[in-house]
């Protein structure tokens, strides 16, 4: 296994390059993905390499170009559509939910939509109430979609080829705070699936369950807890739909305690779904009430100190964990 220095952004770009090289049916389209290089610079350089037919800049027409992606997929292409952020994806919600997700079923299995949609999500950069939200749970609500949340370089690099192999729509949520993450890319492609959750840190005292942009915060919280003698297991969901019930149940059965960390709002959230499943799958194993650390219930405010206070932080995660941690008496 070789290890190479990489960034999350670079890993995403490399995955796109590989896909474009491997399959002539693959093309990328979205707002400013070409000449601008992508609003998060993920597709920088791809226009020069692959040309404007396959790296297509679109007008600001989310509903139209996502819908066009669906149509192109039906027509035999393998489109990768980039939506600038999940906030703007709401303009394409109709196409994603009413068309992409439903087509296979409502056509009685005759049609299917092998489409990959990538988008940025999440807060943390003082972008206020229309550019900061984590709405992936809405998509994770919808049957017919597969929803991924790569939180490591390996997943950024190797989830895309798996997604392109699927016959149904796959949504990939890239937390905006992760793009600059640096590290070593060590995983072999074969190790990456888009079915299972992954234990990112073992621990026997409690389970910290999270995904996406909250993973680094949660790992920091686990470090803090370790220094206090509390050994937290960190479970990275990776796949938000369908959820890996087995990994969830096993983790909670191992530790009997669960803290769910989710940058979405608490009400009606992915965290709410996880809490329900923990109770369904492991009620009799629980040795403390499961708890959640979510974003406070307000549109994300602009000032840094208020944004920080609104979002899950390593400190708040650790505090929630301490409150239910096993006491070694």
């Amino acid at each position: 296994m070789t290890a190479a220095k990489a960034t999350y952004r670079g890993a995403l770009r490399e995955a796109l390059r590989e896909a474009l090289l491997a399959d002539p049916r693959v093309f990328l389209m979205g707002e400013d993905v070409g000449r601008y290089g992508g609003s998060y610079a993920v597709s920088m350089g791809l226009l020069e390499e692959f040309g404007p037919e396959r790296i297509r800049d679109t007008p600001l027409s989310e509903s139209a170009f996502v819908g066009a992606g669906i149509g192109a997929a039906l027509g035999g292409m393998r489109p990768i559509v980039e939506i600038m952020t999940v906030n703007f994806s709401l303009l394409a919600l109709d196409q994603i939910v009413n068309t992409a997700a439903a087509l296979r079923h409502m056509s009685g299995g005759q049609f299917h939509v092998p489409l990959v949609i990538r988008m940025a999500t999440g807060a943390g950069r003082q972008l206020a109430a229309q550019h900061s939200h984590s709405l992936e749970a809405w998509y994770a609500h919808v049957p017919g979609l597969r929803v991924l949340a790569p939180a490591t370089l390996q997943d950024a690099r190797y989830m895309l080829p798996q997604a392109l192999r699927r016959e149904d729509p796959v949504l990939i949520f890239e937390h905006a705070q992760l793009y600059n993450m640096e590290g070593e890319l060590t995983a072999e492609a074969a190790e990456i699936d888009i079915r299972s959750a992954a234990v990112r840190r073992p621990g026997r005292d409690l389970s910290l369950i999270t995904y996406g942009g909250s993973l680094p915060k949660t790992l920091r919280a686990a470090e803090m807890l370790a220094s206090e003698g509390i050994e937290a297991e960190v479970l990275d969901l990776r796949v938000l739909r369908p959820l890996d019930d087995r990994a969830l149940a096993e983790s909670v059965r191992r530790t009997r305690r669960a803290v769910v960390v989710d940058e979405g709002w608490r009400s009606g959230s992915l965290a709410a779904e996880l809490m329900a499943r923990i109770v369904e799958l492991a009620f009799y194993e629980l040795d403390a009430p499961p708890v959640r650390v979510c974003t406070q219930e307000l549109p994300i405010p602009y000032p840094k100190h208020l944004e920080d206070a609104a979002l899950p932080q390593a400190e708040t995660i650790a505090a929630a964990a301490r409150a239910i941690a096993k006491r070694h008496v």
Partner: protein, 330 residues
Amino acid sequence: MTDPSLEALLSRSHALELLHGMLRIRRFEEKCAELYGQLKIRGFLHLYIGEEAIAVAAMAALEKSDAVVSTYRDHGHALARGISMNAVMAEMYGKRTGCSGGRGGSMHLFDAASRFYGGNAIVGGGLPLAVGLGLADKMQGRSNVTACFFGDGAVAEGEFHESMNLAALWRLPVLFLCENNYYAMGTALERAQSETDISAKARSYRIPAEAVDGMDVTAVEQAVRQAVAAVRAGAGPHFLELRTYRFRAHSMFDADLYRDKDEVEAWKKKGPIETLVPSLQQAGLVDDEEIDRLERAVAEEIAAAVAFAEQAEWEPVEQLLRDVCAPEPQ
């Protein structure tokens, strides 16, 4: 007006007002760029520099009772509409004394007193809102006009077309003001539009529309005055495409690689301040001393606004959850 000296006096006074208005926006935003570098202002910062003529002239043509809907490039609109520079700067800082209570920042300036409905940062999102404001005025028999600003990027959104149709169908008192700066972030107009004559799109919905040189402050004012008068008189929605250019990048974190440097420089020569000052000087309406006086006044106002924003307290975290919903009725 028959007295040429009075006409000249009024015209001079008004021209200086327009110049002053544009200088306030220009210098304010230059200061904002500086403060952004010092981390005083965060998030996204979209500068209006180059487009000042539109805000200043349009607002001059509106009544206080009219409504304004803006975009994420909203500093110029807010200042020209009369929101105090202190309140705008404090908002840029995120302080409680800002015009949106500090919660919105640069992209979300709001002010109920001047009927300034934001500060909408989803492209095209303000258009249906303006249609609704117009609908409310019409249904309640008021003669207000709603002025709706948006960029050329918004024209690609379905919301643009849906709003055009609805406003025309119901003959609503809305004035659509498209600030066409030729780039939707990094995508040039001709790469985003099959028909680059934006006003033609409005006309296809049977909305009276014309294209105006957005760098010429008097031309903009004249066009807006005529359109406002027609809308107010009940002639239904009107549309102006104001052709302009942003001198700065789309936002602070934009390398501006998609525009030719010569193109930018050429437009800068056509800038609204850059062209107005020499023409006033040539007409003998303003001298260097007058310009200095204006610049000093603007500089003082900005210094005061920065001080105002700096000295304001941060809002206590305990108030985090305010203004999400109205309190439960008792």
